[in-house]
């Protein structure tokens, strides 16, 4: 079991979450070229090692989180809310 420290709920089993995907993708603007959109939607770095990824705390606070996790050992380096406003809010709470 991977344990994810949700900034709102605390440390929970990963079975409470659903995996989103690669958090490092920069989606291009709506009028960007087809090639840019193809790259963003279909192509992945598929990192072996630490990667930024999204998880959804579906059976908890339902917040989307950005998690830095190793795809080899599953060790987690950092967890923060995806939404910048929520990030700020969590900072204030500390």
């Amino acid at each position: 079991m991977i344990r994810i420290k949700c900034p709102y709920c605390g440390e929970r089993d990963h079975s409470e979450f659903t995996y989103g995907g690669d958090a490092s993708i920069n989606y291009p603007s709506l009028d960007a070229s087809e090639a840019e959109w193809t790259e963003a939607i279909f192509f992945r770095k598929n990192i072996k090692g630490f990667q930024k990824e999204t998880w959804h705390h579906l059976n908890g606070c339902r917040m989307w989180l950005e998690v830095e996790r190793s795809t080899i050992t599953h060790e987690i380096k950092s967890v923060k809310p995806c939404h910048p406003d929520l990030q700020k809010l969590m900072e204030l709470k500390k």
Partner: protein, 421 residues
């Protein structure tokens, strides 16, 4: 290599089995080859075999970073079927099934192919209709497929949960020619047959660097020295992205995910078919091996990973699915479970294609389905490498299909690799 035949079995029965030679050589790597296939799994070995057999190519090497049979070739649930619907895919998988049907003779090695029927349960009129569509499409293309009503199903497999299943079984879509084979035999058989045609199988040889020159791959750095090949083929599902980036080619429409499989203690003959159950988020497929163990699996672990070990929530999910459909196995103990790393592609379909590098060829993106595909995969990958032209069955199985809008999405699940089971 000593051929397996009745005379040799008889002779060695009398001389204490001392007359057998080793199954394949352990050659020292040469510095130059015509074709180097990276990856000594089923796909790589089958490719080397058909290159030598169908296209008379000589000086072929297969590089394997571990040992033959140690990767995904030894980490699957051995199911073989050809119930595909997308154009290209059904011809491809049907050809693969036909190759399996003669593989033991072809390789002079018993791959224990057993056409015990693949029984795909359905639980709603909607699922029945969609299966009828799929299996009718298959029949129109010359593949066998049939629908079993509840009575036929009960007669064939009396011990499924017909009484109090949360999703009552109402019938099954069946492919009788489908079944399974022994995975180790298949990979050893291909290794032995390829070796006997002169292919160098080089184990413990990991590619650590790729040198490019004038748009070509000039040489490979490996843990056993530098090697040059006129043509290079990648067949390393699970680690394709790593090699791709080693060749400085950027990103691929692939993510690596792990899939678990499970084996119970051996019991007497209990299940004569391959049974598949998938409804309401559950996914479960099971068959009984010749040793008597039940071999089964379910979904991916749902998060990207290169770890060849499974996680516990999926063990529970699979056990729950097992109890839902076959409650009589509830007291069996699991002997072992393991995970293999899958190339999950963005539309659930594989790639056999040329690449931006003129002497590099790609074989990747097999999702869950690589085992059954391996004979045809080798056949058409060898054809591509030898003739420089994709066969018409695999003409859309290239990396540009996404920008061209011709995705081959068998399940209609969209561009999320983990959803293509």
């Amino acid at each position: 290599m000593t051929k397996f035949n009745a005379w040799n079995v008889f002779k060695n029965g009398l001389n204490g089995q001392t007359g057998w030679s080793r199954q394949w050589r352990d050659p020292e790597p040469k510095s130059n080859y015509n074709v180097i296939i990276i990856g000594g799994g089923l796909h790589g070995l089958a490719t080397a075999y058909y290159l030598a057999k169908n296209h008379n190519v000589n000086k072929i090497a297969v590089l394997e970073k571990g040992w033959i049979g140690g990767g995904n070739a030894g980490r699957n649930t051995t199911i073989i079927r050809s119930n595909y619907m997308m154009p290209g895919s059904h011809e491809f998988y049907e050809h693969s099934l036909k190759l399996w049907e003669n593989l033991s003779h072809e390789l002079n090695y018993n791959v224990m192919f057993s056409q015990r029927a693949h029984v795909n349960l359905y639980h709603s009129p909607g699922a029945k209709d969609s299966n009828a569509r799929r299996y009718n499409t298959m029949r129109l293309h010359g593949t066998d497929g049939e629908l079993w009503d509840l009575n036929t199903l009960k007669k064939n497999i009396p011990h499924l949960n017909y009484n109090d299943a949360r999703f009552p079984i109402i019938g099954a879509a069946v492919q009788r020619r489908a079944g399974n084979a022994r995975h180790d035999s298949a990979v050893w058989g291909y290794a032995r047959a390829a070796d006997s045609l002169g292919v160098d199988i080089i184990q413990n040889c990991e590619v650590t660097g790729i040198t490019r020159k004038n748009g070509n791959i000039e040489s490979l750095q490996t843990s056993r020295g530098i090697m040059k090949g006129n043509k290079i083929g990648f067949a390393v599902a699970g680690n394709t992205s790593l090699l791709w980036q080693m060749a400085d080619l950027g990103n691929l429409p692939i993510e690596s995910h792990k899939l678990q499989a499970f084996v119970t203690e051996a019991v007497k003959p209990f299940l004569d078919h391959v049974v598949v159950y998938g409804v309401g988020g559950a996914h479960f497929y099971i068959s009984q091996s010749d040793k008597g163990s039940l071999v089964f699996g379910g979904d991916l672990d749902w998060y990207k990973s290169y770890a060849q070990r499974g996680n516990l929530p999926m063990v529970q999910d699979v056990a729950e699915a097992a109890m839902a459909i076959l409650p009589s196995i509830g007291r069996l103990r699991l002997l072992r479970h393991w995970a293999g790393v899958m190339d999950m592609s963005m539309d659930g379909t594989f790639f056999i294609c040329k690449t931006p590098i003129s002497n590099l060829y790609l074989n990747a993106g097999w999702n869950y389905g690589g085992f059954k595909a391996s004979p045809a995969s080798g056949w058409y990958f060898a054809d591509l490498i030898a003739n420089e032209q994709p066969h018409k069955y695999i003409q859309h199985h290239h990396l540009k299909r996404f920008e061209q809008g011709i995705n081959l999405d068998e399940r209609g699940a969209g561009p999320d690799p983990k959803l293509h089971g």
